[in-house]
Amino acid sequence: MLAAVGRGRAAALRDWPVPGALLARDRSLPVAEQMAGLFPERALRRGSTVVVGRSRPGATSVALSLLSGPSAAGSWCGVVGAPDLGLVAAAQLGVELSRLALVPVPGERWPVVTAALLEGMDVVLVRPAGPVRPADARKLEARASERGTVLAVLSDAWPGAADVRLDVGEGGWHGIQGGAGFLVGRELEVVSTGRGAASRPRRARLTFGSGTSRVRARRAEP
């Protein structure tokens, strides 16, 4: 009897929304549900680096939906570079714009800017304008892992050792045919590779848009 009461209380306490406790417990950030299969922990590990390859179409959407999970769960996100980012699309994918900081034109000092944002944000997405020096890449990765921030990079040639690398594969659009309809949604195949637990390639088929299947965030399991 007493044990049952105690168990009920423990459950109640676990669901108690205390922010500090949540942060201390979580070494990971939630990720959009359909992307969970791409990560070994089914969540974004704090302090890790995720690189999204840019060569195939759809990379920006994948990167934005990478932000959507943490953003919807209350995290602050930053985007360095990418002056042409479509914020309407970001909002559609589930990124909370009131917690999104943009530094569209960081110029030559983008590594310093990124490092500064890594101090305060939970996820920082970088799109370097030109080639990246390996030293900068190493420093940023070290800073991210030290601060417990996720560094997301939208680039093909990232000289650092990414924990997870996402590459977009085949994809298709629906909602549009010869002169009728409009772009409703798309499907993209994404392959993840990486180091350690992520070295085994994982695949996922992501759907975007189509009105109903908005990428939804999901809290990571404790």
């Binding site: 980012l85 479509g86 970001a90 009131s98 900081a101 530094v103 009105g211």
Partner: protein, 589 residues
């Protein structure tokens, strides 16, 4: 009941004076199609305030008609107020062209009410006409004279009245003639008011003196007139309790005025407090840390001074002067209040940013490079609170809101702002708009995010395109956000080009696809090439066109037709046809 002697100076023609026309010209200033002020010449010709433009022009065919510019009136009145303030403190601006002064002290000093009234009239004349009569009138008069030529002739435009109470003084000013101030002797105010018509309560020159609404007063005057009470004396003879019970608060207020009891006293404007805190560094700071240390102490000081007045700072400028005489200044804005620590941090970042730009010499923006090239050691640091507001505290969320995360993020963003400038860090919000650039409002972080255009928070992802909806089927509710017809539904593009990229959209025979005047494509698109020399990709699907005509009724209007196109390599684009060319507006990346 103690009465406050008050002086009112009034330039009834002020809107005309500001316009810069001489009194000999026939000028009328209009607001909402009604004459609000006339020049003396126009008055002679028979133009009366309150008439419509067309009536006024019928009376006086040569009339110059001007629209009222309240901002210019207020701006030009300021030097006049400053000139009076030089002479006596406690000036209250009632409206542009009219000011009040508590006259008890100054009139003793200048030797009586009449002397004071003459002095004020002279000062106003001097300030308006740009002929300083003495050191008192000199301040600001250049401004006015330089601002509009042809004002020299406005001598004697100012009416001055002195009486017990503000209202009686205003009425005395209205009743006086130029050059002859009217001074109602002490205690004679009730006698002065008694023969006046009740209608003066509604006259334009007194509205700023009355706290009751104009319409309410007009209704009261009308009602009293119908009851046979036409003069102030008649009204004042009624018992106050009966007036209050029959005519309510507005009637009671008017009754007090009619009895010569002041409704309120001259408040005077509070001197603008000087919150600036500065420190000289002598010798100049060699070390950055020394300057930062001084800056931090200043931050504490300014915060303490503001807090002592119950204020918080929402915008603060950090200003540093260097030994070469260069002044570096940058404003910081924060929609919450800036605490002492936050001010100190901003000072430090700012100084570090300048020092870094100075040393490295390759600032990101051209402005900073110029600053850097000329900067030297810091000799003076000043903190200038540019915007303050009452400290009404701040309420944090009770559940769940992680205040720590927000403050950490704020610090990081402010840090970047100190490196690249306040405009470098943006936050966005969605607003109404037709194309994807318009639908996003980007503001520097820290500025309030107030959408300028209403609109649904998110474009609808279901339903047919708005342009093709049958008539009346999907009407937006009347008080809901506007529908923004011409918006493209469905998924939004992840990459929106700030500047459209040229493209070629070709049909099967390799000729460019055109859009006709009815908004239809001339041919089926088959190939899409980006840029001038891009390799054409086969088109696998297309939709549209969505015609969009914006502001065709004025210059700067745009006329576009937009098409969605998917190509064989899996990409999708939003193209726009404008000026007979195709442009890539956005990419569905």
């Amino acid at each position: 009941m103690s009465q406050h002697r008050a002086l009112v100076a009034y330039c009834p023609d002020w809107p005309v004076v500001v316009s810069g026309h001489p009194p000999s010209m026939e000028v009328a200033v209009l607001h909402a199609n009604r004459v609000v002020a006339t020049s003396p010449a126009a008055r002679v010709a028979g133009v009366r305030p309150g008439t419509r433009r067309r009536e006024a022009q019928a009376v006086c065919p040569d009339l110059v008609v001007l629209q009222r510019d309240v901002v210019a009136e207020a701006r030009s009145w300021e030097p006049v107020v400053a000139a009076i303030e030089e002479m006596a403190p406690g000036v209250e601006v009632l409206q542009p062209g009219q000011l009040a002064l508590g006259s008890r002290g100054p009139s003793r000093y200048f030797g009586g009410d009449t002397a004071l009234a003459a002095k004020v009239a002279g000062l106003v004349d001097a300030a308006v006409n740009g002929a300083p009569s003495g050191p008192d009138g000199a301040s600001g008069s250049d401004d006015v004279a330089g601002g509009a030529p042809g004002r020299g002739a406005w001598a004697g435009c100012c009416l001055v009245g002195v009486a017990d109470g503000l209202f009686a003084a205003g009425l005395a000013a209205l009743s006086s003639s130029p050059g002859h101030p009217l001074v109602v002797p002490l205690g004679a105010t009730a006698a002065f008011l008694a023969p006046r018509s009740m209608k003066v309560l509604t006259s334009a020159g007194l509205q700023a003196l009355l706290e009751a609404g104009g319409q309410e007063t007009a209704a009261l005057v009308d009602l009293l007139g119908r009851l046979g009470i036409r003069t102030m004396g008649d009204f004042a003879a009624l018992p106050p309790a009966a007036v209050l019970s029959r005519f309510g608060l507005a009637g009671s207020t008017a009754h007090r005025l009619a009895r010569g009891l002041g409704e309120r006293v001259v408040k005077g404007r509070a001197p603008v407090p000087d919150w600036v805190v500065a420190a000289e560094l002598d010798p100049p700071a060699d070390q950055l840390q020394a300057a930062v240390f001084v800056g931090r102490a200043l931050a504490e000081e300014v915060h303490e001074r503001l807090a002592g007045s119950g204020l918080v700072c929402t915008r603060l400028a950090v200003q540093a002067e260097t030994e070469h005489g260069v002044v570096l200044r940058r404003s910081w804005r924060h929609d919450g209040a800036l605490s002492a620590v936050a001010i100190g941090e901003r000072v430090r970042w700012q100084l570090e940013g300048w020092a870094l730009a100075n040393k490295v010499g390759e600032g990101p923006g051209p402005s900073q490079t110029v600053e850097a090239a000329q900067a030297g050691r810091v000799t003076r640091i000043a903190l200038v609170p540019e915007e303050v507001r009452p400290d009404d505290g701040r309420q944090l969320g009770f559940w769940g809101s992680d205040a720590g995360a927000e403050s950490r993020a704020s610090r990081a963003m402010a840090r970047v702002q100190s490196m690249l400038g306040p405009e470098s860090v943006l936050t966005g919000a969605l607003q109404g708009g037709r194309d994807y650039l318009e639908q996003v409002l980007l503001v520097p972080w820290g500025e309030p995010r107030v959408p300028s255009r209403l609109g649904p928070a998110q474009p609808g992802t279901t339903g047919p395109p708005p342009g093709r909806r049958p008539r009346g089927a999907g009407k937006a509710p009347k008080d809901g956000p506007p529908p923004w017809p011409g918006r493209i539904p469905g998924a939004a593009p992840a990459v929106v080009n700030r500047k459209p990229v040229a493209a070629r959209l070709l049909d099967g025979e390799g000729t460019p696809v055109a859009v006709d005047s009815r908004g239809l494509l001339g041919a089926e698109p088959a190939l899409l090439a980006l840029g001038p020399g891009g390799r054409p990709q086969p088109v696998t699907g297309w939709a549209g066109p969505w015609p969009l005509e914006e502001r065709w009724w004025e210059r700067g209007g745009r006329r576009r037709a937009r098409v969605q196109v998917t190509t064989a390599d899996g990409r999708a684009y939003l193209l726009a046809r404008e000026h007979r060319d195709w442009w890539v507006e956005a990419t569905y990346d």
